[in-house]
Amino acid sequence: MNINDIIKPENLVYAKPRLLNDNHMHYCPGCSHGVVHKLIAEVIEEMGLEDKAIGIAPVGCAVFAYNYIDIDWIEAAHGRAPAVATGAKRLNPENLVFSYQGDGDLSAIGTCETIHAANRGENIAMIFINNGIYGMTGGQMAPTTLEGMKTSTTPYGRRADLNGYPLAISPLLAQLDGTCYVTRQAVHTPVAVRKAKAAIRQAFENSMNGLGTSLVEIVSTCNSGWKMTPAQSNKWMEENMFKKYPLGDIKNTVK
């Protein structure tokens, strides 16, 4: 069979989701952000919530998220996305409100907003991209940076006596009564991508059903910041990041 006989609209099994528009993404080649954007677009499309979804964009690499997914977005100040999401959800309880944040946003400058929004049990979903580094500003150390990991501000590796210990946000939030679903996923293999999609779907359903705060942490790569190729950084993530940030559900009071 000729290849042109296979490439026909009736044989299409996978394509870019409709909500992910044609704008060229500014992310570095191989960045996990692109995969997560794609998953969010797919989930919103499958749930039929494109007119009801409000995303809260962070400050960080994903600051231009509103350029890529065709839903309503609000751009929050650095770290304040959960606070903005709180307002949006309380005023529009019938809408799907989610925040999309990196580790510099959610677990550094925005720790206060994150913890208090989760503790109040706001009916929002938080998507947390954890790559252990400040990607946008040039690879500085973040609270989530692993011990011994080299960044531009810890060129000899992070030292616990000087820089403190890596901060694992998900177990912290899982202790709070306000959270209903806390999970940690990754998007480095096709299987992991499908699991992450299911997690995002459940978080969005929890938000729509008013069950409390959901956190989906995606352990990601930052190949530019880590100074590796995308394939190498996926491998490095599996070997190093997963030790400190093991994958799986941490809390699920829904099922």
């Binding site: 296979i6 996978y14 952000h33 794609k38 991508v193 394939a231 996926n234």
Partner: protein
């Protein structure tokens, strides 16, 4: 026996040549262009070995830029 044939198309202007699809492909179908580049200067992916494709969509699933479309057809010998 029924056989599954697959094919992918790569949006070459959107592709950033990150190589993740090449690594994810279980059948070693894809490769990055060794010399040719797109308008942004990236070595985009293409089907080096189209006959081996089974249309599993592993490449498209991991593609960060959503530039791969997957087609699959079942044929009887």
């Amino acid at each position: 026996m029924a056989k599954i044939l697959g094919a992918v198309t790569v949006n070459k202007e959107r592709c950033k040549g990150c190589d993740l699809c090449v690594v994810a492909c279980p059948k070693d179908v894809l490769q990055l262009q060794p010399k040719e580049v797109n308008n942004r200067g990236y070595h985009f992916a293409f089907m080096k070995n189209p006959k081996a494709c089974i249309g599993c969509a592993a490449c498209a699933t991991v593609c960060p830029d959503g530039c791969i479309e997957v087609y699959r057809v079942k044929v009887n010998d």
